[in-house]
């Protein structure tokens, strides 16, 4: 964003802040007017959390009443602000969908690979197959002579 744009947006936002002081809340329905008054009076942190409490229709009524309180020339500036917010919101939404997509693909991918490997190994290495494998044979102690050698010795002994 160029310096000219920054100055222009700075001007727009400060113009809105000044105009907000002139906004007549009484133009709104009674219940909504009370909520808007509370919203104006709250400190920054609390006001930000209150934004979500306004419904879509409420927001529409408030912004329409605010725009009506200003001349046509200033309303063109509101269009620019709205367009700026809209583009920004679109950018953020697209970015969030991209991260959601990555997270879902990564989670399901990792689990699918692990499941596939586990099932494949469990099938190839069933207990029956493992017991038939040479590794499952009881180990012969190192110093013990083989059966064949023992037989030979016995035969020799008999000859003597």
């Amino acid at each position: 964003m160029g310096m000219t744009h920054k100055i222009l947006f700075g001007f727009l936002f400060s113009a809105c802040a000044v105009s907000a002081a002139d906004f007549d809340v009484e133009a709104l329905p009674e219940k909504l007017a009370g909520e808007v008054q509370k919203f104006f009076a709250a400190d920054t942190g609390r006001a930000r959390t209150q934004i979500a409490a306004f419904g879509d229709e409420d927001l529409q009524k408030i912004t329409t009443a605010f725009k009506k309180a200003h001349p046509a020339a200033e309303q063109r500036l509101f269009w620019l602000i709205e367009e700026s917010y809209r583009r920004n919101a679109e950018r953020v939404a697209a970015e969030r969908i991209r991260f959601l997509f990555m997270a879902v693909v990564a989670a399901l991918g990792i689990i699918a690979v692990f499941t596939g490997l586990t099932y494949a190994r469990a099938r190839n290495l069933s207990p029956a197959a493992a017991s038939a494998a040479p590794a499952a044979m009881p180990a012969v102690p190192a110093g013990q002579p083989s059966r064949r050698a023992t037989v030979k010795k016995t035969k020799k002994g008999k000859r003597k």
Binding site: A52, V92, A93, E95, R96, I97, F99, L100, M102, A103, V104, A106, A107, L108, I110, I111, F114, T115, T118, Y119, R121, A122, L125, S126, P127, A129, A130, S131, A133, A135, A136, P138, A139
Partner: protein, 222 residues
Amino acid sequence: MLYYALLLLSVSVGGYAAYVALIEAPADAMQGNVQRIFYFHVPLVWVSFVAFIGGALMSIRYLQTRSMRTDAWARAFIKTGWVFTTTVLVTGPLWAKPVWGTFWNWGDERLISFFVMWMMYNGYILLRATIHDFEKGARIGAVLALLALANAALVVAAIYIWKTASHPGPVFVQKSGGGVLDPLMRRAFWLNFSAFSLLFVCILVAKFHFEKAAAVSNGHDA
């Protein structure tokens, strides 16, 4: 045959759960679509903890009985839990980047304790792979599984002990009134919760068969 049927069931439930979570459930008012990661992230955490509690219980049983069958169960629980924990460590940062502006916050106690827990289970798996004496590996592994579970308890308690933790609190009991309130959001959550729990059981049973066969091939009666 039973666990192939279980797998088919969990994949079917998972497919429907993913549809509800990604399409039917409304987007969060503040976070937008990225909040949908929560439907996968939280059930994955739940399954990880079930796996590690199961692994620790089987380890205690192994230390009492010295049965290689219970050791095979412990290995199956912990290795399956490790995969789910790894998935949690992938999905969490992918949610954090657009919401916090950074993938990871080294100042958050819950994140750090979770990372340490993951490292401990890495250690368990490495230990079991490198100690060739099967019984010695089982004995040391059982002790390590119990130590890692103590760390898992710290992960749960982190947001209560250190108030500075930026990680969101429990989703259904937030004092600020947040969390999952919309019925469709609740439905998406519980469906995914069931799907991942079922999938965990499927993988666990298959993994146990593999680990049991590995113990048999090492000359142990499992």
